[in-house]
């Protein structure tokens, strides 16, 4: 049987994601790398009680409006799952700006959503530990700050480090430029974002791409995320913002 990871619809691609799943979602800066159609499918499916592992705790509508994207109000990113009350826990690097009409803030203060606010480096290094099969990593960021709380501290060669535990997820949703049918991915511009690290850290990675090619259609040297990390591929329709 020839391997073909390409799935024909977004709804099929996310069919295995059920209530209570943990999901990493790439994309936060700019329009590239955001798996929009997978997120829309997840909203349609209406699964609940999700753990969302992502850069920000908000939808970047204001940024989209500021930069003049067409239909900024309809801006789609991981934030739509929070807005739609499908999330019960958020693990992120940037939680929310208090007072700026944050839906996460409201849900967090009402006790509906649990929040782990990590900062960027610790957020990434924890996924890296999960991706690489490590039991934890000592890293130097957050000494003397709120990030120290409840963490083991160790001095190595005179410098203080905090122990970060590995972070994995049931699923990763990533956006990329091209895939072949074996799941090898290449990205465009600054659209890589968290794609490479999340694809490695999750048990099942679903990639939304602009173009699908046959095996051999991508130069082996150009591949950023090897297909071993990618279980499903689905092609996005052409979009205004892209």
């Amino acid at each position: 049987m020839p391997v073909n990871k390409v799935v024909q619809s977004f709804d099929k691609a996310i069919a295995d994601i059920g209530d209570g799943a943990s999901i990493m979602v790439s994309g936060a800066q700019g329009p590239l790398g955001v798996p929009r159609n997978l997120l829309l499918a997840l909203r349609r499916k209406g699964v609940h009680n999700l753990t969302l592992i992502t850069a920000t705790g908000y939808r970047s509508v204001s940024a989209a409006r500021f930069y003049g994207f067409p239909h900024a109000e309809d801006w789609i990113d991981h934030g739509i799952l929070i807005d739609n009350h499908q999330v019960s826990k958020v693990i992120c690097a940037m939680a929310y700006v208090p007072g700026r009409d944050s839906i996460l803030q409201k849900q967090y203060e009402a006790g509906e959503v649990e929040l782990e606010h990590l900062g960027h480096g610790p957020f990434i290094i924890r996924m890296w530990a999960g991706a690489a099969g490590l039991g934890g990593v000592y890293q130097p960021v957050g000494i003397g700050t709120i990030l120290e709380q409840d963490k083991e501290k160790r001095v190595i060669d005179g410098r203080e480090y905090l122990l970060e535990m590995p972070l994995t997820a049931d699923f990763a949703l990533v956006g990329a430029d091209k895939a072949d049918s074996y799941g090898n991915l290449v990205y465009k511009g600054t659209g890589r974002q968290y794609g490479p690290i999340m694809a490695k850290a999750a048990r099942v990675t679903i990639a939304e791409v602009d173009e699908v090619v046959e095996p051999g259609g991508l130069a082996p040297e150009s591949i950023v995320t090897p297909g071993i990390y990618v279980q499903k591929v689905v092609r996005a329709p052409p979009e205004v913002c892209k």
Binding site: A28, Q29, G30, P31, L32, T56, S60, A63, Y67, G68, A93, M94, A95, Y96, V97, P98, S102, Q105, Y108, E109, L115, H117, L118, G119, H120, G121, I124, I125, M127, W128, Q139, P140, V141, G142, I143, G144, T145, I146, L147, Y187, K188, G189, T190, G191, R192, Q193, Y194, G195, P196, I197, V224, C241, K242
Partner: protein, 225 residues
Amino acid sequence: MKERLDEQTMALRVARELQDGWYVNLGFGIPALCTNFIPENKTIFFFAENGLLGFGRNADYDEAGRLGWRYVDAAAHPVLPVPGMAVFDYAEAFDMIRGGHIDCTVLGGLQVSGKGDLANWRLPIYKGKGGTIGGAMDLAACCKRVFVVMTHTEKSGKPKIVRECTYPLTAKGCVDLIVTDIAVIRVTERGLTLEETAPGWIAAEVQELTEASLEVSPNLRVMEL
């Protein structure tokens, strides 16, 4: 009221500290204005934590549209590619930061202490877990040099250079240089040294607006602007 430097002039002063060939991160706000003040005979590689090294100036909307929003910086501003630019992912970017490969970060500040502690990610009025840490703690703790550019006092007149930070810390003992709208202050093992004053200001006036005590450099001079 004595005249203070405006934001562009503060950025000009701190930009002069950036050396040819450095890999430099600029924070949001005043730090980002430094790009306006790099002379043509200097090559500075600007770093964005979302995965860009050596990028060009901000693109306007038309330019960004033509490029398909291909390159954006860490604030999602579209930027122009320049020859020699490199793209990568967030994990690579934070290895560059954490591994101490970035020569310098220029950050904004809410408070800096006499020991060089920095607080810049969250106002204390926020309740619970709010705020956005982002890459601030990584940059402050791990870049080779940390320059802070900020107004010398809060709008209320309250000093921002304090004995101990009362706002949530970003990193301990990380700051090397503070450029404000009235002074340039270096952080050393002994504390804070006042090296320059803005035109029209004398050391005693700067100290009056500074809670931490300043040692006046024997080479104290007026900022050249």
